[in-house]
Structures are given as C-alpha cells and as structure tokens.
C-alpha cells in the first residue's frame, strides 16, 4: 500500500493536551480510510441505490433522511435526498460501485483524496461538536449510524455518529488543517488526546 499523505501531518501533535484535571474529555484522530465515495441516485432510483449499497458493503441503510449504518470497517449514510457517503478500508470501493451500479440508477464519485475524516470520541464529544455546529448531537436526535450534512462557517462537513460517544467528521481536505485547529481549540477546555 502506498503511504497516505495527511493534510494534518504538519500540525498533528500526538499526546494529551489542554485542561486535563478531570481526565481526557475527547480523543481526536484522523481516520484515514482507504475510500471515501459519494453516490447519487437519479430521481426515483433511491431505493435501487440503497440496495446496491447493501450488495457492495453489506450495510443495510434504514429508510429515511440521514439513515446510515457502520460496521466491519465500512460506513454509509444519507446526507441529502438521493445522496449517500460510503467510507471503507478497501481502497477500491469506487471501482466496485462503478462495476455494480447501473447507469440508470445513479452515479459514483471517488472523494478519497478530496475529503479528510476526523474522529471525535469520548464522553465530551457531543459537547465539543455542539460548540462548532448548530446541530442537536443528543443521541435521540442523532442516533448511532445516522449522518447529516452541515457547515461550520465556510467549512462544509458531513458527520456520522459511529458510536454512542463517537462521531466521524468529513471535511474538504483543503480545509482539514483549519478545521483541526478549530477542533483543538474547542477541545482544550475538556482535555484532549490526539493519536
């Protein structure tokens, strides 16, 4: 495997930082998946696309806005009508979809080099993210597996809840370092660990 070049590399300082008197509030990490892919269904083809996602990833997406699932090193969620993100360790997910997805169903766009995945986890993850995004991060409003599309000022973000206290945030690669800087500042008061 070719080594991935991280946009965070020059600023990534592993270890514990910030106000640690009450322990580590959040852990911050770059997820570096092999693939980040966007799928879009033509009008009326959303269900067929969801079936193709199941066929390729084994993930059954629940019906409805923002429905998603994760497991076995793969993740998928809806973030707009007929639009889905699929993330996984396999480096050729776009290629597999290109082979399996009918032209009548929709399109596949490989964003692996265009997005950076950042995982925010820990007891204070909801608190830290709620400072950055005007989103209800409470578990009943934002269930595990589901995802959404939002923005922090001019930085677009797709966010999936991948665990009860774990969120994966996907930002444009060119904004990743700026977002990381903001995230570190937001995490300082609760104490954070970078790895």
């Amino acid at each position: 495997m070719v080594d991935q070049l991280s946009p965070l590399e020059p600023v990534l300082r592993t270890g514990r930082h910030g106000h640690l008197a009450d322990g580590v509030g959040v852990r911050l990490a770059e997820t570096q998946p092999g693939s980040i892919v966007q799928l879009a269904a033509w009008p009326g083809e959303e269900k067929a696309l969801i079936r193709t996602i199941k066929q390729v990833t084994g993930l059954a997406l629940p019906d409805g806005a923002g429905g998603g699932a994760c497991g076995n090193g793969k993740a998928a969620f809806g973030f707009a009508p007929g639009r889905f993100m699929v993330i996984g360790e396999d480096e050729n997910i776009a290629g597999v979809f290109a082979g399996k997805l009918s032209q009548k169903t929709g399109t596949v766009t490989d964003l692996s080099h265009g997005r950076t995945g950042i995982r925010v986890s820990g007891a204070r993850a909801e608190w830290v993210l709620a400072k950055l995004f005007a989103i209800d991060f409470a578990l009943p409003a934002f269930p595990v597996g589901s995802g959404l599309s939002t923005v922090h000022h001019d930085i677009f973000a797709q966010i999936q809840r991948s665990g009860a206290d774990q969120f994966d945030v996907y930002v444009f690669r060119s904004f990743a370092r700026a977002f990381w800087h903001t995230l570190r500042l937001a995490s300082e008061e609760v104490g954070y660990e970078v790895r």
Binding site: A65, G66, F79, A134, L148, T150, V151
Partner: protein, 100 residues
C-alpha cells in the same frame, strides 16, 4: 430564525442562502416580450406579511426550498422542495429538451 428543511430538519439560518422572490415567473427563454422580462427582473410584491421565497440549504443538503415567510415576524408557515413546488416548464421547452 430557523428553517425546517424537509430533509435535514430544523436548521439555523446561517446554513441557508436566500435565492430571491419565489413569485417571479420566468418567461420562456425564446420570448422577446419586454414587459414579461421587465416584470421578471424588476417587479416585486414587497409585502408586509406572508411572502413566497426561494432559499437554498447551502450548508446542508444543498436543495432549493420554497419557503413561505412572514416578513414582519420571520415566522415560517410552509417549506417544501422547490423542485416539487415550483412552476412546471412550458410544453415548448420540454419538447426541445432544454434543461430547466
């Protein structure tokens, strides 16, 4: 102000971009009717009350929305996808197969 996107749910105003008056009726592309084009570009109702508007959920699902907003109170009484609520393309343009 909070707009409830039909897909994303209630979201802060900062996620939305105003795309203009939702009452405008775009003349056919081939039309040379000066009055119709003048009305499309310049005529606005400017009501003190309920107003039809187009907003884009630019910081979310990026869909265009048809929103009814009260210009006095900012109360929003109706939100729908603009594609579903908007005027249909004219038969002439459909035949030519031009994109809307």
């Amino acid at each position: 102000m909070i707009i409830t996107c039909p897909y994303c749910g209630p979201r802060d105003l900062s996620e939305f971009a105003y795309q203009g008056d939702g009452n405008r009726k775009r003349p056919d592309q081939a039309s040379t009717n000066q009055k119709a084009w003048n009305a499309y570009v310049y005529d606005r109702l400017n009501p003190a009350g309920e107003h039809n508007e187009i907003w884009q959920h630019a910081g979310g699902c990026r869909r265009h929305l048809a929103v009814t907003r009260n210009t006095l109170t900012h109360a929003i009484s109706k939100v729908a996808f603009a594609a579903a609520a908007g005027p249909k393309r004219s038969a002439a343009r459909r035949k030519q197969g031009k994109a809307g």
